[in-house]
C-alpha cells in the first residue's frame, strides 16, 4: 500500500509548473531553456514563476531556433548538465529532428557508451483548440521509433508532475509529450516530490469484456466511453500506457488475456501511428486469447482542419470508441 501523502487539486498546467520548480530545486545542474519560458513563464504557463525563483542563469529564453535549442541540450548534457528544454508545440519538431534523431538519440551508442545525455524535452501535442494543421499534431510515432529516446505522455496532473520529475532524473533523453487541451483539467497531486515510474502503465478502470489501451488525453475519452458502455452492460478495462517508450507490454497483454478483446486508441492519425505497434504486440503475444481482431482508433488520414465542426469530426472521441467497442462485441 502506498503511504498517505498530502495531496490537493491542481490543474494539469499547475502540475507541470510544480514539477519544473521541483526539478530545479532538487538538481543544481538542471536548467530550463526554450522560447518564452523565462520572461513569459511559457506560453502555456508551464514555467510560471520559475524565472523569479531560479534566475536567468537557470531559466533561459532562447531565440526561435529549435535546432539550436536541442543542440544546446545535447552539448550541455554531454558535458555534465541536466537540461530541460521546451519545444513549444510538438509540431515544431520538424525544425529539430536532426538534433533529436541523429544526435540526441544516437550519441551514446555511437560513442560506445561513453556519453550520457540526461535531457528532458517538454512539448505539447494534440488538437481541439482550433489551431489548425501546424499546431495540433500528435507526432509521437516519430520519436518512439528512435532507439535511444524514451517517451512519456501523461494524461493527468498527477502523472504529469511525476513523469516530468522521473524524466529529469533519468540519465537518458526523455520526451514528455503533454497535451494542450488538458491544461485546465484538475486532479489530486501530491505536494511532495515523487516519481511516476517510466515504463509502467496504469489501469484506470478494471473490466472483463474488453481492454481499451490508450494514453494522453484519449484516456479521458476512453473512460467516458467505458462508462457509457457499462450502462449497456459492457464492462471495459481502460489502460493508460503513460509511457510509450519503453512500453508496458506486459500490462496490456495481461489485460487482453483476461478480456479477450482490445481497442487501441490515440489521437494521432491512425495510419502509421503508434496504434499499429500496440495492436501488433497484442496480437503477437495474446493471439490465442483474442476473440476478435484488435481494433484501432485514430484520426483519419488528413491534416488537422481548422473549422471547429471539421476538427471535431476529425478527432477520436468517446462515441467513436463506443461504436468500435460494440462492433467488436458484435452487439450492434
Amino acid at each position: 500500500m502506498a503511504e498517505a501523502v498530502a495531496t490537493r487539486e491542481l490543474t494539469y498546467v499547475g502540475a507541470i509548473a510544480e514539477a519544473a520548480h521541483t526539478v530545479l530545486a532538487e538538481q543544481d545542474t538542471a536548467f530550463v531553456a526554450g522560447e518564452d519560458v523565462a520572461g513569459a513563464g511559457g506560453v502555456f504557463g508551464s514555467y510560471r514563476g520559475l524565472l523569479d525563483a531560479y534566475g536567468e542563469e537557470r531559466v533561459i529564453d532562447t531565440p526561435i531556433s529549435e535546432e539550436g535549442i536541442v543542440g544546446l541540450a545535447v552539448g550541455a548534457a554531454a558535458t555534465g548538465l541536466r537540461p530541460i528544454i521546451d519545444i513549444m508545440f510538438m509540431d515544431f519538431m520538424g525544425e529539430c529532428m536532426d538534433e533529436i534523431a541523429n544526435q540526441m538519440a544516437k550519441m551514446r551508442y555511437m560513442f560506445g557508451g561513453s556519453a550520457s545525455l540526461p535531457i528532458t524535452i517538454v512539448t505539447m501535442s494534440g488538437g481541439g483548440m482550433n489551431m489548425a494543421a501546424q499546431h495540433s499534431q500528435s507526432l509521437e510515432a516519430w520519436i518512439c521509433h528512435l532507439p535511444g529516446l524514451k517517451v512519456v505522455a501523461p494524461a493527468t496532473p498527477h502523472d504529469a508532475k511525476g513523469l516530468i520529475i522521473a524524466a529529469s532524473r533519468d540519465d537518458n533523453p526523455v520526451f514528455v509529450v503533454l497535451n494542450k487541451l488538458s491544461l485546465r483539467n484538475t486532479g489530486e497531486v501530491p505536494e511532495d516530490s515523487y516519481e511516476v515510474p517510466i515504463g509502467k502503465a496504469r489501469t484506470v478502470r478494471e473490466g472483463s469484456d474488453l481492454t481499451i489501451v490508450t494514453y494522453s488525453r484519449m484516456v479521458h475519452e476512453a473512460t467516458t466511453a467505458a462508462e457509457a458502455l457499462a450502462e449497456e452492460g459492457i464492462d471495459s478495462e481502460v489502460i493508460d500506457l503513460r509511457s510509450l517508450q519503453p512500453m508496458d507490454t506486459e500490462a496490456m497483454v495481461a489485460s487482453v488475456q483476461k478480456t479477450h478483446r482490445a481497442i487501441v486508441v490515440h489521437e494521432a492519425v491512425r495510419f502509421g501511428g503508434l496504434g499499429g505497434e500496440i495492436a501488433s504486440q497484442i496480437q503477437e503475444l495474446a493471439f490465442d486469447y483474442l476473440d476478435a481482431p484488435v481494433a484501432r482508433i485514430g484520426a483519419p488520414f488528413s491534416p488537422v482542419p481548422f473549422a471547429a465542426n471539421l476538427e471535431q469530426a476529425w478527432l477520436p472521441n468517446a462515441p467513436k470508441i463506443v461504436a468500435a467497442a460494440k462492433e467488436l462485441l458484435g452487439s450492434e
Binding site: 522560447e35 509540431d91 520538424g94 483548440m129 471547429a308
Partner: protein, 321 residues
Amino acid sequence: MQPDDDTLRDIHRRMVRIRVFETEAGKLAEAGRIPGALHLYVGQEAVAAGIMAHLSADDWITSTHRGHGHLIAKGGAFDRMFAELFGRATGYCRGKGGSMHISNMELGMLGANGIVGAGPPIAVGAAFTAKYRKTDRVAVTFFGDGASNEGSFHEAANMAALYKLPALFVCENNGYGEYTAQANHQAIVDVADRAAGYGMPGVIVDGMDAVAVYEAAGAALERARAGEGPTLLECKTYRFFDHVGVRGMGLSYRTDAELEEWQKRDPIHMFEERLAELGVLSQEQAAEVHDGIMAEVQAGIEFAEQSPVPDVATLLDDVYA
C-alpha cells in the same frame, strides 16, 4: 522611385483596409466569436502596403503567422477572409486553414504560415519559377525579427543570392518575437547586417513610413526583376496589439511608454497628415475612405457569419490532388 499621387492614395487605401479589418477582427476574437489564434497586423501596415503597391497578382508573396495584412494588401477580399477566420465553407481555404494558413493562389499569396521561418524557402522556390520561366515576376517573403534566427531563413537567403533569384526578403522587425525583446534573441540591432553574409544588399528603412518603404522596395524590386538578385530589406516597425489577439495574455514584457512612443508614429496617421499637406487626400477624404472600408468590413463579417460551415463530408477532400 517616388510614388505619384494615385500611388499614394492606393497605399493609403491598403493601409486603412488592413487597419479596419484587423481592428474589427480583434474585437471579434476578444469577444470569442472567432476561434483559434489571431495574430494581428495593426501598427505594421506601412510595410505591407508600401511593398504590395509594387506587386501584381502575378508576383508571389509568402507570409507569416501574422498574415492578414499581407493578404489584404495583396488584394484579399474581406468577405472570403472573414469567412476563413470564422471557419466557413466560403473562406479562401474552405475553412480548413483559418487565420494561420489563409492564402489565395490566384492573388499570388502563398499562405500565411504557422511555422516561424517557413516562408523564405518557399519564396525562393517561387522566385526560382520566375527565373526558370524567364518572366519578370518576383517573390517577396515577409518574416519577423524572431524568424531571422531560424535556420530556414539562412538557407533561403543563401540560395536566393547564389542563384541571383528575383526575390525580396522583408524583415518586419517589430522588436519582439512573441514576448522576447530583440536584445534577448539576437546580439545585433539591425537584421540587415545579415545580408552581407549572403552576398546581397541589406537596406534599413523606417517601417512606419510607407513612402520610405515604397521607395526602398521599389529599388530592390527593380534590381530583382533585372536579374541582379535579392535584397534584404529591414523595416523597423512595431505591433500595437499583443502578440496574439488584442490584449493577449496580459504579460508585461513591454512598457506602456514604449507603446505610446511608437503610437505617436502611427503609420496611418503620419501618412494621412502627409497626404493632407501634399493636397493629395484631405482629412475628409481620408475619413470617407475609412467609412467606406468599414462598411465593406461589416459586410464581410455578415457574409462570413451567414456562410455555412464546411460540410463534414468534405473532411477528407483535398488531402491529395
